[in-house]
């Protein structure tokens, strides 16, 4: 793999040509934690002294989540100029010759992302950020998806939304599992036995909407990031994922470490104009655990086989993997207690 120095040199050469300007590089830093792409924070200056902040997302040979960058680009593009804050896209390049791997380039937004495992990350602005967080998710769900738009996403099967997604992640589990997990197995059986209803309105699903995947500056959300798992589906899928106790593990009554559950759901309903079916949402919350397990198992497989020994691929099966198994158990127990 080439060094940052080599890559930064390739980058400035490419971007100078792209903009037809004589540019100089002020900084080129890799950002830690990118699960599916290598992410770089870049600062360039042109001849007039004008500076530009950029984000480069480059495909990794072996990543935590195998996704298509065109999907991510399409999703970012869908929300330009809407109430969903997303960075302006500059370029997408599928050619490996330019920077050694396919990449996307976008403008850098103000703000910072917090770890989803830090309980007080949003203090003292939890209420304002919470209002925005759930309201933006409602806006994502509300977006009108016309047929042409749906055609651009990989959406070939006629299966119901729930089955398409569940089958996809079960395939990952089957391919990458390195041990038998009776808890996960029980969760999967439960999902297939009690499917949810098909949604009245399909939406563009972000696929990884949670705390940690948005930028904020004080009391304002400045950007929604990491759309690489975007797809057309049931809007409750995003809600179930964002509500998952894994993202507020040390304060489970406050999803995403922002607002309490009831307030969060009310804001989402108000913003999306959709009504939540409690049983269906419950299904998607269990699904979130199984999908999460698929991702953590896949990461563990990368680590164990030596394909990618980034510590995130060890951390994922150890910590989030443990937590999601515990949540599956909690859900199964709760169901049993209700019978």
């Amino acid at each position: 793999m080439e060094s940052n120095k080599e890559l930064s040199s390739q980058f400035i050469s490419y971007y100078s040509k792209f903009t037809n300007k004589k540019l100089s590089l002020l900084s080129f830093e890799r950002v830690f934690g990118g699960a599916s792409r290598e992410t770089f924070r870049i600062l360039v200056k042109d001849e007039t002294g004008s500076e530009e902040k950029l984000i480069l997302r480059r495909t990794q040979e072996s990543s935590l989540i195998e996704t298509s960058q065109s999907t991510e680009y399409l999703a970012y593009s869908a929300y330009q100029g809407t109430l969903v804050p997303v960075p302006a896209m500059i370029d997408i390049n599928e050619d490996e010759g330019t920077l050694g791997a396919p990449f996307m380039l976008m403008q850098q937004l103000d703000g910072a992302a917090a770890s989803p495992f830090t309980p007080d990350a949003y203090s003292p602005h939890e209420e304002e950020l919470g209002e925005q967080f759930w309201s933006i998710l409602g806006e994502i769900a509300k977006k009108d998806i016309n047929d042409d738009f749906i055609d651009q996403f990989d959406n070939a099967t006629e299966d119901p939304c729930w089955k398409k997604e569940l089958d996809k992640w079960i395939k990952v589990i089957k391919e990458d599992s390195i041990s038998i997990e009776p808890i996960l197995d029980a969760g999967i059986r439960k999902l297939y036995e009690n499917p949810p209803k098909e949604p009245k309105k399909k939406s563009l699903v972000h696929g990884d909407y949670r705390n940690g995947n948005f930028l904020f500056k004080e009391n304002k959300i400045t950007g929604i990031l990491d759309w690489e798992m975007a797809h057309i589906g049931d809007p409750l899928e995003d809600l179930g994922w964002a509500l998952s106790p894994i993202w507020s593990w040390q304060d489970r009554d406050k999803p995403a470490y922002l607002l309490d559950r009831q307030a969060s759901l009310s804001i989402w309903e108000g913003s999306s104009g959709l009504t939540i079916d409690k049983n269906d949402l419950k299904w998607w919350e269990l699904f979130a655990c199984v999908k999460g397990m698929a991702i953590w198992i896949s990461a563990g497989n990368e680590f164990k086989t030596g394909k990618n020994v980034d510590p995130i691929n060890l951390f994922s099966p150890w910590i989030p993997g443990d937590i999601h198994l515990e949540i599956i158990l909690d859900i199964l127990e709760e169901d049993l207690n209700e019978t």
Binding site: W318, E326, L329, L336
Partner: protein, 149 residues
């Protein structure tokens, strides 16, 4: 007596986090090293329990399957009867046995799910929780936060 492996790992993690990491200027490389420090620290804290936890888990599964074996179908019953326990086995052998036992437990769970016995179902979930508690490292999440700060 020689210093224990877990103590050695713990010191290595502390050195990584407090001595070497602060010397690194590159933000990405520093975060990556901090993550390794925290993961080594977790390994150190769980190292001594790994063998006994696995042995206890295997015992718990075997005991439960034998205790409830009257409810299973003939094929599963035969599998349960064939379970053999090797006393003082090496960790790799215990691991292999654990995977076999887990596979049998999944089959048992499917059969339990078909019954109307709520108490039995609750007992089985309790067993799964006990198994999970033997293995989990998520209770050490605080260590990662300290390493990150």
């Amino acid at each position: 007596m020689k210093p224990e492996i877990n103590i050695a790992l713990m010191h290595a993690a502390q050195e990584i986090l407090t001595r070497f990491s602060p010397l690194i200027e590159d933000e990405y490389e520093q975060s990556r090293l901090n993550s390794w420090g925290a993961l080594i620290l977790i390994s150190a804290m769980k190292f001594n329990q790994s063998y006994s936890s696995l042995a206890e888990e295997n015992d718990s599964i075997i005991n439960w399957l034998r205790k409830t074996k009257q409810i299973y179908t003939k094929d599963l019953l035969e599998e349960i009867d064939e379970i053999q326990v090797e006393e003082g086995a090496e960790q790799t052998i215990l691991d292999e046995q654990n995977q076999l036992l887990r596979a049998i437990l999944v089959k048992a769970h499917k059969e339990v799910d078909l019954k109307e016995d709520i108490e039995l179902k609750k007992e089985l979930l309790n067993l799964l929780r006990e198994m999970h508690s033997h293995r989990k490292v998520s209770d050490l999440i605080g260590l990662l936060q300290q390493a990150d700060s």
